[in-house]
Amino acid sequence: MSVTEKIKERFEGRITDWHEHSARRAYFSIKPPDIKEVANFLFKELGLRFAIATGQDTPQGIEILYHFSDDKTGQIISARVLIEDKKKPQIDSIAPLFVAAEWIEREMWELLGINFIGHPNLKRLLLADEWPEGKYPLRHNHES
């Protein structure tokens, strides 16, 4: 059974969208409350490597793509969540599950203003100490 089949079986009914762009690139969408369970399954049970996460500000809300790499097949499987509340976006931190996610969550917190609940060390990574509070460089003003 392939890795993608295992994910589909395990989270049946909870995956809202599955898109295979090519043989080595797959994307699927889940609801934000499921992220911890999905990340744990992909990293710990399937043994995928956590490559990085991409946070982005879209007109629909704040989106996070968690990219996992299956180094046996060369496939990248990206789990997509959409946080609709742009005023106070928050989601469970996956850093307590595996330490590799610690820095990127700090980065998304300071650049996009996403609160990662349960992060062990949520402080600035890249921005200077003098940078004003509440200003998020990667946020867009979609109205204008």
Partner: protein
Amino acid sequence: MSHKVIIPIGPYHPLQEEPEFFRLYTEGEKVVDIDIVIGYMHRGIEELAEHKHFDQVAFLVERICGICSSSHPYAFVLAVEDIMGGEQNVVPERALYIRTIVDELQRLHSHLLWLGLAGHFIGYNTVWMWAWKYREPILEVFEMICGNRNHYAMSKIGGVRRDIRDMDIPVLKKTMDDLVPAVDMFKGAVMDDPVIQARLKGIGVLTREQAIEWAVVGPTARASGVNIDIRRDDPYGVFDKIDWNVIVEKDGDVFAKTKVRILEMYESINIIRQCLSKMPKGEIDANIKDVPPGEGIGRVEAPRGECFHYVKSDGTNRPIRHKIRAPSYMNVASNKVAAVGGTISDAAITLAAVDPCYCCTERLIVLDKATDKKLMNGWDLIRLSQEKTKKMQEGRL
């Protein structure tokens, strides 16, 4: 009774080429904890990329790093080509070979650079001088092919910007032939030297479990027994058409990391030689005009590990999101476990063993001390460099 002393290394320190700040918590000689502070080089390139058109972004990301300056544009164009159906379906075959050759030349010069710095860090300055001496002919080859020692500007969406000319090929082959005895010498001088072994074995160990937990990449992972290499696992260029080996070591110490890099140089030479003999004639550019909407991921095995680019396009001439993850992002964080438990005197080489990405983009002004008058500025240097490139191309040098 414990008495903790904090030793700061950085953000500006004679041993570091780039600003980064390590706060070592020590008890006696022993490092008990470490705080890593980065961000001194943050230039907002991801945000900047959203304001450039696709062709400009390739030049922009090249400037992330002066050492991996083939990896970043390559990973970026792979991401864009992923949107369009994949590199193999878009790019002419000859261009794939040229991309592979430049990628491996870059690995050679980068590994030699690291080897020199590592020698310097442990006080073995002879290795430093040797390594940089043998790195020099590779930079000359770069200048011959690309017109620049760093910042090669080769990869573009749909192909490469310039061809490797027939007259360059004998020079490239000779440079590879001359490099083999040099690497042999490093193998002897570093790997078989009992003093180096005593200094580097068992130092800064990252176990296999820790390497997986911290998701490290590249030689840092391979030295800890994690058998990953993007060139083999998610092949790009012509790496799947070439016969070569992934170097994996088990011990996870600084010595294993050194060994992986030295042995990888043989593989790079091997790859370049095979590419030169197999490279077909033909077009080097598919002349792509538009990027369709969609999202793509490109990744290459940079000298330090997987370089990851994610690009989202909405069909206009600019990306709407461009996420970049350089390999050091994962590797530097793992110093938290590699350096803790060791002694203070081992910290410098342990912190350097992941080969953190140093920028070699210094600028130079020559001043007349008496009058403070500028004798030479950036433009003079560019003119000098262009004259030299022209001479090399005409075979006058």
